[in-house]
Amino acid sequence: MNVPRFWRRIPNRYNLIGTKCENCNTCYFPPRSVCPPCRRKGVIREYQFEGSGKVITHTTIYSAPEGFSKMTPYVLAIVELDEGPRLTAQIVCDPSEVKIGMRVKSVFRKLGEDGPDGVIYYGTKFIPA
């Protein structure tokens, strides 16, 4: 992904800042600027997530595209945050350790890089809690 597209969302990516619709109290991560059930009735505010949740499903990636291939095998999961929303993230643990239902918490980590001389991307991963 190109740098501006990544950079634009850095506060959200680094600090797990999403949005909340104050009309229906639904929390969104990744952030949404339109609340699908409320649409124009929605009142969208920034929302800081606690960073705790559980693994809903997971995989271990053995074959990855450029930028991630040096990190294989790595664990990828869908995590449900305690505030409700689900997101896709890497879990920093041994592949044999990850289980459906496992409690996890967020950490700030390097995500990947654009080749040896390219940009290094940082963001949120999760570790077993």
Partner: protein, 387 residues
């Protein structure tokens, strides 16, 4: 709205076609379809071309004009439209053509699909396909396409007890079907052992659970049903063309073990066609990964939820079984040139309903279904065709 019929079909050989360009492929499929309908290019009034990612694969956009130009249709200045919905681009091109004829906007329309994927290396191809997921919130975090389907497989195994062997049997069965299809990329048969000992791609999915990178093109000719007999003795009628959308990201879905857009598009299609699941004699479903076929046959309600794996292992989805699935070899063995797949599925069903499918013929097939998925289920198109 008026009824629509398919009166011509064309499909190139699928595979790694290093000596064939993007242009060569669509010209071959298009001419085959015109010849099959006994038409000339001058009869064509509009063209819809399904293509996912020519910009990445061959560094060429604006392929609607390119296709019209090099197919020799530019002399009529036909409207030529590229249609994109990732791996469902072909299915959408078919539906767009059907709507154009049904609405009486045009009488004779070509719906085609094409993807030329092997001009770039496998890493770049993988990255191009990852663009069908949410680039910002899935791919940028390390998700791959096999990885997303692997997470569905893990959830399905956990919820329904689907086994590694049941997943493998999808690939074994589709290779067996592909072995009887001269157009298929892979014509070798494989065993369950070969699948479960192939290299891990994204646990629990292995290399032989995944559809390949493929070049290919396919085309169909659509006309008003009342004119179909002018062109063929065996018109195949469109009974339904349904489409549904869902979230682009897997993590935002209601369920990880079911593709809701499949259930909804199928319900819409069966309602329009006024048919039951039991009326379907043969179906081409979107088996980009083995788990995808198991979820598809459940979400299309050919089998109860959770019964897809055991039914596959019992042979109920093989030719000769209760409902033969993917007689072409599916995406797994016939190959998956993403933009062409949805049209190839229709070509296969037309062959089956005409009774010209050769060794893989389903005896007496009268009604068939195609199911084409974009991404991990953000777009689904279902067509029902009948003799």
């Amino acid at each position: 709205m008026r009824d629509v019929a398919i009166v011509g079909i064309g499909c190139t050989k699928f595979g790694e076609m290093w000596d064939k360009s993007f242009r060569d492929l669509f010209i071959e499929a298009g001419l085959m379809a015109l010849e099959d309908a006994g038409m000339s290019g001058a009869d064509v009034e509009a063209l819809y071309g399904g293509n996912m990612s020519s910009g990445v694969f061959i560094e060429q956009e604006h392929v609607g004009a390119l296709i019209a130009d090099y197919s020799g249709l530019i002399s009529n200045s036909v409207p030529s439209t590229r249609v994109e919905a990732a791996c469902a681009s072909g299915g959408l091109a078919l539906r767009s053509g059907i709507i154009a004829v049904a609405s009486e906007y045009h009488d004779i329309v070509i719906s085609a699909g094409i993807e030329k994927m092997t001009d770039v290396g496998p890493e770049k191809a993988m990255d191009a396909l990852a663009a069908a997921s949410d680039r910002e919130w899935e791919a940028a975090l390390g998700a791959t396409f096999p990885g997303l389907y692997a997470m569905m497989a893990r959830a399905h195994m956990d919820e329904f007890g689907t086994t590694r062997e049941q997943l493998a049997q999808v690939a074994v069965k589709n290779h067996y079907h592909g072995s009887m299809n001269p157009k298929a990329q892979f014509r070798n048969t494989i065993t369950i052992d070969a699948v479960i000992s192939s290299p891990l791609v994204a646990d629990p999915l292995r290399l032989f659970d995944c559809s390949p990178i493929t070049d290919g093109a396919a085309a169909v000719i659509l006309v008003p049903a009342e004119r179909a007999r002018e062109f063929t003795d065996t018109p195949i009628y469109v009974k339904a063309a349904a489409q549904a959308s869902d979230t682009i990201s897997l993590h935002d879905r209601r369920s990880l073990t079911s593709i809701d857009a499949t259930r909804i598009a199928a319900d819409r299609a069966f309602k329009t066609a006024r048919l039951q699941r039991s009326n379907i004699d043969v179906a081409e479903v979107h088996d980009c990964f083995t788990i995808a076929e198991i979820m598809a046959i459940e979400d299309l309600a050919f089998f109860e939820k959770g019964r897809g794996g055991p039914a596959t292992l019992a042979g109920e989805t093989a030719i000769g079984g209760k409902i033969p699935i993917n007689t072409s070899g599916g995406l797994k063995a016939c190959g998956h040139p993403v933009g062409a797949t949805g049209i190839k599925q229709a070509v296969e069903i037309v062959e089956q309903l005409r009774g010209t499918a050769g060794k893989r013929q389903v005896e007496g097939a009268e009604v068939g279904l195609t199911h084409n998925v974009g991404g991990t289920g953000g777009t689904v198109v279902v067509h029902i065709l009948a003799r």
